[in-house]
């Protein structure tokens, strides 16, 4: 991760996201196609709903004939963590133009958020449109292209998971966790390491009784709250 906030750095630093989106978005295209989505509908799904978890919800709940309001509710809850990410990353941008802020926020995902927060560790916590937009647009284009490829080629690939590409996103989060630990100076490193351990326990226990696609949101809310308490009591 460089200290530069220019478009070239953005394009370069987003490559891992672009590659890792290929696998998951291709898989979404395949799954949508096997659930009766035409390539046109897959294209519209990718264009309008830039959130893999929500796309899975839409495909799954439409297939099970859920009422439309239930799908809207699930879409909101599954993706509600993006509200926290949006609140967290926004103060790092000092961009005044409304349209630029809307363009940037529209391309915020788990991954572009994590990349931006890591980047902020190297730039004195400052982020710019010039860096973020070139970093955030290619993953969106990859998502559209890969899901379309999945929709068109899916019938020829019996089990896309076999390729191992689905692990790319997990690998990226492993890297991002490590980079966050080694570079973030706003929080004590020991406290951050303790938080990682706490999150592990929360995820394990939470999986017993909280549906997986809601768990991230619950763990984030409870985990951050506990983090604030720990910081005040021990650090």
């Amino acid at each position: 991760m460089s200290h530069d906030l220019d478009p070239r750095a953005g394009l370069r630093e987003t490559l891992p996201i672009v590659f890792s989106y290929f696998g998951i978005c291709f898989a979404i295209g395949v799954i949508a196609q096997t659930n009766g989505f035409t390539p046109l509908l897959v294209l519209l799904l990718s264009l309008f709903v830039y959130a893999g978890s929500v796309q899975f919800v839409i495909i799954g709940l439409l297939a099970s004939q859920s009422p439309i309001l239930a799908i809207f509710g699930a879409a909101f809850l599954v993706n509600a963590r993006i509200i926290l990410m949006s609140l967290t990353v926004a103060p790092h941008f000092h961009e005044q133009k409304l349209w630029k802020n809307i363009l940037m926020a529209s391309l915020l995902t788990d991954e572009t958020f994590a990349l931006a927060m890591n980047k902020a560790n190297y730039t004195g916590s400052k982020l710019t449109f010039r860096w973020f937009y070139p970093a955030a647009l290619p993953p969106y284009l990859m998502m559209i292209g890969a899901s379309m490829s999945g929709a068109l080629l899916g019938r020829y690939i019996p089990d896309p998971e076999q390729l191992g590409l689905d692990f790319a996103i997990v690998a990226m989060f492993i890297g991002l966790v490590y980079l966050q630990l080694s570079a973030d100076r706003t929080l004590d490193r020991r406290l951050q390491t303790i938080m990682v351990a706490i999150v592990f326990v929360f995820i394990y226990i939470g999986l017993i009784f909280i549906p997986a696609n809601l768990l991230i949101l619950v763990v984030t809310l409870v985990g951050c709250l506990l983090g604030v308490v720990l910081k005040h009591v021990f650090f």
């Binding site: 590659f19 989505f37 509908l41 519209l44 309008f48 830039y50 929500v54 919800v57 839409i58 439409l62 439309i68 799908i71 879409a75 993706n79 993006i82 926290l84 949006s86 609140l87 967290t88 926004a90 103060p91 409304l98 802020n101 809307i102 926020a105 529209s106 958020f113 994590a114 927060m117 191992g164 692990f167 996103i169 997990v170 690998a171 990226m172 989060f173 492993i174 890297g175 966790v177 490590y178 980079l179 966050q180 080694s182 973030d184 706003t186 938080m195 999150v199 929360f202 995820i203 999986l207 017993i208 009784f209 768990l215 991230i216 984030t220 985990g223 951050c224 709250l225 983090g227 604030v228």
Partner: protein, 109 residues
């Protein structure tokens, strides 16, 4: 409504919900500032969310029962983490991750 139109309405509705969830907080913060308490809470969001997204992939859910270990992802995480420590380069980490999982699937198969 045809099934195409029904799906389209669902997509557009969900698209609007996800879009507003990212855009509204972002632009509201141009008008308002958050209290120190809230900012402190939010300072934990990156590390908590990133590790939650990792760990949730290490288990398979079985509601009402203990989660089962996803052995493939668990084992593949080890070389991936080592590559993170050595390289500090996301592209290398992602590549090592994909290759690790593929190799582990071959060994376990």
């Amino acid at each position: 409504m045809s099934s195409f139109e029904y799906t389209l309405v669902t997509i557009i509705g969900c698209g609007l919900i996800t879009w507003l969830s990212r855009v509204l907080p972002f632009i509201l913060l141009k008008k308002f500032t958050l209290s120190d308490r809230v900012l402190e809470f939010l300072s934990f969001v990156p590390i908590v969310i990133m590790s939650a997204l990792w760990f949730s992939n290490l288990f398979t859910q079985d509601l009402g029962h203990l989660p089962r270990l996803n052995l493939e992802n668990f084992l593949a995480s080890v070389p991936t983490l080592i590559s993170a420590i050595i390289s500090k380069n996301l592209l290398v980490i992602v590549a090592v991750g994909i290759v690790s999982l593929a190799v582990i699937r071959v060994i376990l198969a």
